[in-house]
Amino acid sequence: MGATVKRKEDPRLIRGAGAYVADLKLPGMLHLALVRSPYAHARIRGIDASAAQALPGVVTMVTGRDMLPLCDPLPLASSGEGSEGGEVYTGRVRHVLAVERARHAGEAVAAVVAASYPVAVDAAQTIEVDYEPLPVVSDPLQALAPGAPPIFEGLNDNLDHRRRRQKGDVEAAFAAAHVVVRQRMLNQRLAGFPLEGRAVLAAPDPTTGGVTLYSSTQTPHQVRSEVATVLRLNENQVRVIAPDVGGGFGVKIGSYPEEHLCAALALQLNAPVRWVENRLEHMLATTHGRAQICDIEAAAAADGTITALRMRIVADLGAYPLAPVLPDLTTAMGVGVYAIPNVDLEAVSVYTNTTPVAAYRGAGRPEAAYYIERAMDLVAAELGLDPAAVRRRNFIPPDAFPYKTPTGLTYDSGEYDRALSKALERAGYAELRREQAHRRAHADPATPLLGIGIACYVEMCGFGPYESARVKVEPGGAVTVSTGISPHGQGTGTTFAQIVADQLGVDFDQIVVRHGDTATTPMGIGTMGSRSLAVGGGALMGALARVRDKAIRIAAVMLDVGPEEIELCERCYRVRSAPHRALSLAQIAARAYSRKLPADIDCGLEATEYFRPPDLIYPFGAHVAVVEVDPETGEVRLRDYIAVDDCGPRISPLIVAGQIHGGLAQGIAQALLEEVVYDANGQLLSGSLMDYAVPRADFFPPFTLDQTETPTPLNPLGVKGVGEAATIGSTPAVANAVIDALAHLGVRHLDLPLRPEKVWRAMRGRR
């Protein structure tokens, strides 16, 4: 553990030999294409598919009504209503294909199955749908306004739910404040944009009468349960396989209509049915992320101490409530790394006629870090203090852990000033401030404006309720691990193999880690929320401990000593007092499955363990961004970036660094580039790479990565999670840097993304 090893995944990937869903072909496979609503909100009056049915190669065409007998409505997240006594029907219902109403542009209303994909697409284009356009609300604030047209029948408004977290005497703190800062901040809507879109291949399974479903998903067990529910099957009749998956970033969590549709049609047609998302479909029909508006107010004393915080967030859930808990994670994380005694934080979650919003790398926590870290800079600017000093004034001190936040969480561990001090030192902060002062004093109109941005983040990781691992030592001594987590680029198979090698005394090359197949892995939650190692690793450590204990018992019998006499060395189990008397795991395994095994020891050498994390864990870090703004064009050049991240011990340092690189790329892109845009009619204006700015190779400087290491007491490895950390820290760091560059022109806030035109206008308006 902690060593630099080659990833087990890479040899096949660099040969182009990975097997992703769209690479799979089954005999007799049919292809599905969808008809999607061009309207953001419309009643479906009728569908004429006669031309499509007549095309050669078309097998069938189905509408929402056709699917009603085959599929129950899709699972929607509970918004908490009726939580005392079950669900209250509110008219919110989502079908595999829209039945009476389409609620966002891109919602599927009909499907064609054909012998080839081109035929399916051509046929889908001939289908005529008679739409009656309905009034559209694409803006979350308008969706809340009195008289806004409700998106769901039977509801009076577009409110999903509101949740408020209050503590202390906020009114009094604001009344007594030396200064109050207020700002409305947008956290713009983003697209996940994994380069592999979603893809599904469903095949009937004659053994169970159910289906085998290959899906590009992060959560195979959840998809299995949901498909079983919707198709009215037992869970053991549905097998979900996530083979190689080309990125997820949160948008491949849970089931989508296409998975149910392919499964139901495969069963009905008794043939494999495949659907592969195209890029426009991805932008229209795969969930988006973020999409919040926050009004924030902070009360501060003259020395920069924040005494109270108010937030009112309006969170856009899109057309269906798929992950309505995310805005409540934002308020839960509202105070960040700071000891703020008085809070009043509310999130109001609303429906709009847009693509549903759910998890995207960070999922609720980047929004919180952005708001509070921008607010710290606003307070610093208002008081004329250094942003680092204001942060230090307010940090939760290291001796306060475990720390109960006013929002009801318990931070397990943290040493925030250590991370910040390290980041500032690596950045050469004092020198940068001198350089900035010098440039401002010698204002040459052609010299780029220098900005330095700080962000100190804490995030919430280690989500339960459990994760699983099965460790099996094969009779020949090789070790097979099956895990409920489902990596899609994180290299978790490699990290797990390192842990197994270390804990069982077996060669790294003798270890196979299986994941992403509900038929061969124990129940699992999947890969999301930076939980794989913190929770999945906990299960793995539990199973390994049981296998190791048993191996020691068997070794003791074989060597005729007491089990306490056996110690595990690098590659053997040996007698402490006589190290030459040693056995390999293979020798022990052979005995475990043999007739010679004593009667009082159970046969075999394997264990399955479920780990239930006792509480959430809170990785943290400090980032510094250094930017130069072109005074002529408003273009922002990221000159330098320093990330100090504390994710606890690093089992696979290269993989951790890769996760930080990727997190930075996506977080910085939120600050400077990316934005999903709808017009007032709910039409998506950013449907391709020409309109949605995913960053490219030329965009980033080399990153400076460093770390502190504060292990969590809450899991056996002490690890905390790192998949989202850098996304969370980098958006506010870069935003703060750009605004810092313009601060002397009187700019105190700009909304993201900070593209050249916006920055140029801000500069132009101020001088």
């Binding site: 080659k6 890479d10 040899p11 040969r15 182009g16 072909k25 998956v245 996506q666 490219r696 980033f700």
Partner: protein, 157 residues
């Protein structure tokens, strides 16, 4: 019509009109070349046409007849990896792996044309290949390393 792919001749139908990417993937089973955007922006489908990197999602298959196509499957010589593959492996470049074939095909064409690319030339050449996992720092390093490995291999001959 005959296509020469990775030195091997394949016979495919001339009609209906279709692009090289889908012929490779669906008809010939060469699935190492990936679909990313279908519009020529993302670079995931990059292959070589007479040694030049092209977007196979934009190339009509009729234009390919009689010319040499190389895909990711043709980069290694049997068990022996191409210097670009060795460098990408060494640098632990892949995360999800989806963009990697296109990245390596672009890098291979660059190095063939310019054995000593500068940092700026590497960035300019690789700029059309998106990596959503954000592995750009390692991609740049791997391409520079691949050029060095390729030069060493040439000098050794």
């Amino acid at each position: 019509m005959n296509l020469v792919i990775n030195g091997q001749t394949y016979q495919v139908a001339k009609d209906p009109p279709r692009v090289l990417l889908w012929v490779l993937r669906d008809e010939l089973g060469l699935t190492g070349t990936k679909f990313g955007c279908g519009a020529g922006y993302c670079g995931a489908c990059t292959v070589h046409l007479d040694g030049v990197a092209v977007r196979s999602c934009q190339v009509p298959v009729s234009r390919v007849a009689g010319r040499a196509v190389t895909t990711i499957e043709g980069l290694a010589r049997g068990e022996e990896l191409h210097p670009v593959q060795r460098a990408f492996l060494e640098a632990q470049t892949p995360q999800c792996g989806w963009c990697m074939s296109g990245q390596m095909m672009t890098a291979t064409a660059l190095i063939a044309a310019n054995p000593r690319p500068s940092e700026e030339e590497i960035i300019a050449a690789m700029d059309g290949n998106y990596c959503r996992c954000g592995a750009y720092a390692r991609i740049r390093r791997a391409v520079a390393r691949a050029a060095a490995l390729a030069r060493a291999a040439t000098e050794a001959v």
